[in-house]
Amino acid sequence: MNQSVFNRWASETPKIRANIIKMIHQCASGHPGGSLSSVEIIYALFAKDGVMKHSPSKVNTFDRDRFILSKGHGVPALYAILHAVGYDITESELMTLRHLGSRLQGHPDRVRLPYIEASTGSLGQGASIAQGIAMSYKLDKNPHRVYALIGDGEMQEGQIWEVASSAVHHKLGNFTLILDYNKAQIDGTVKEVLNMDPPEKRWEAFGWNTLVINGHKYEEIVQALTTTHPEKPTMIIAHTIKGKGVSFMESNIVGWHGSAPNDEQCKQALQEIQQNQAIGL
């Protein structure tokens, strides 16, 4: 992969961010902060020329890599990206987020929307489900990989640390877990609520192939996603900014976990996202 691919992705990213803002604004509820922080991570997996081997036509097969969004409340990012890369979700369907009857539930629902790998929303569970997919791929000698994204608040759940020991024991070299290390949760910063630092030392101590990157830089993300170990599962600690791309969210990361922008804020956010695109940020 070369710089021109990263440049192309960077030029496509603002559209994704704008859709996230519009989706959350139109239903006046949802989680902007943690959706915006994970955009580059998820897009590097799904984008054209991205890391994951997948295609809309292969949804019902095992001939593909898999991505599980364990931090299910960040699902607007995933919907916007699935739309951007050609899965059958139109822009007008994006704007049905959280409406009665919509396939786009407030948290991922794999029964309603077949492109969703796991129904999540109760934190901690998606990581285990991802581990199970990796176990069966390994059993079948299926060469595909499994990726899962967790939050840094989510990392407090005991179930995450059950995965931390279990995936190493089962030698799941085909499993990559990514930490959206945005430093905030609901009741405060992660440091205030229940400090989990330093994550890299913890995951290393559990036996993971551990990498630390900037989670908004495509080059670093791709480098990390393609650095694997034959026997060890990989943990990518991705430093991110909660609310990335919208200044008033970035400067109040706790406040924008789960509140929707009003009309005025939505307008300002969309303007900023557009400006950032113009100056190539």
Partner: protein, 310 residues
Amino acid sequence: MGKTASRKAFGEALSELGDKYKNVVCLDADLSKSTMSILFKNKFPDRFFEMGIQEANMIGAATGMSFSGKIPFICSFAAFLTGRFDQIRISIAYANANVKLIGTHCGVGIGEDGYSQMGLEDLSIMRTLPNMVVLQPADAKETKEMVEWSINHVGPVYLRLTRQGLKDMNMDKFERPGIFPEVKKGQKVAFMACGGVLEYALEAAHNIAKEGKIDPAVFNANCLNPIDNAFMSMLANNFDEFIVFEDHTINGGTGGMIAEWMSENANRPKRVRRYGIRNIFGESGTPEDLYKFHGFTAPDIEKFAKKYLL
């Protein structure tokens, strides 16, 4: 008149009562702004414990605190708290630990977040546990009464609370669990309703009564455990038909409890109709859309009851 969410009434009550009851402590799992335990936290920072997103550990730690003289209130969404059933079952209930469980965001009334955040099975599972008192207030005053009752009761209590505002139903007094307050007098037919649905069941009952054919009584079915046999016998002696309205699965909840009791104990056969979430999962939508979709508005209830009873 303004409505008050029972979670808000809980937060206010606990922070008021904290002065009088010095042994009360409060734990939350990264949802204090939603469960409203933040009101207690602001007033008694030393007696509030932020446990992070660790519901199972919170249940265990609270049990330990109760074994050392404290009266812990543990707070999260009903779905996540009762989701740790094994910990509740063994650490708390089996040991008769003096822990008060606060499950907020019950029912489809929470709206847009969708099924994963909705407490829809919590009553059914919690009422299987022998020591567990299972309560659901129908307005702000009753919530406050129940919080104080819980502090004085030795043993575990589960309190089921709403995200959405509840109308004042004049529930001024909560004396003991098992006696359902009568909200409207009536004959032959009794509507048993709880939590956020009570208001609409009452409105429907009044409309039905106006037509002069049926005159349903309405009770606030605010407790699933313990069961008061004398009170239930009174119901059985006075009514032939029961319709039970709840923002909860119909399987094993309030309707389940009443149907079980009537089929075992009533002196002659009764018909008990359960009315709630019927073998489907919840989903996203505005609270108003969801109440319409599940038939919880007063016109829906009225239409159903007339068709069912006439």
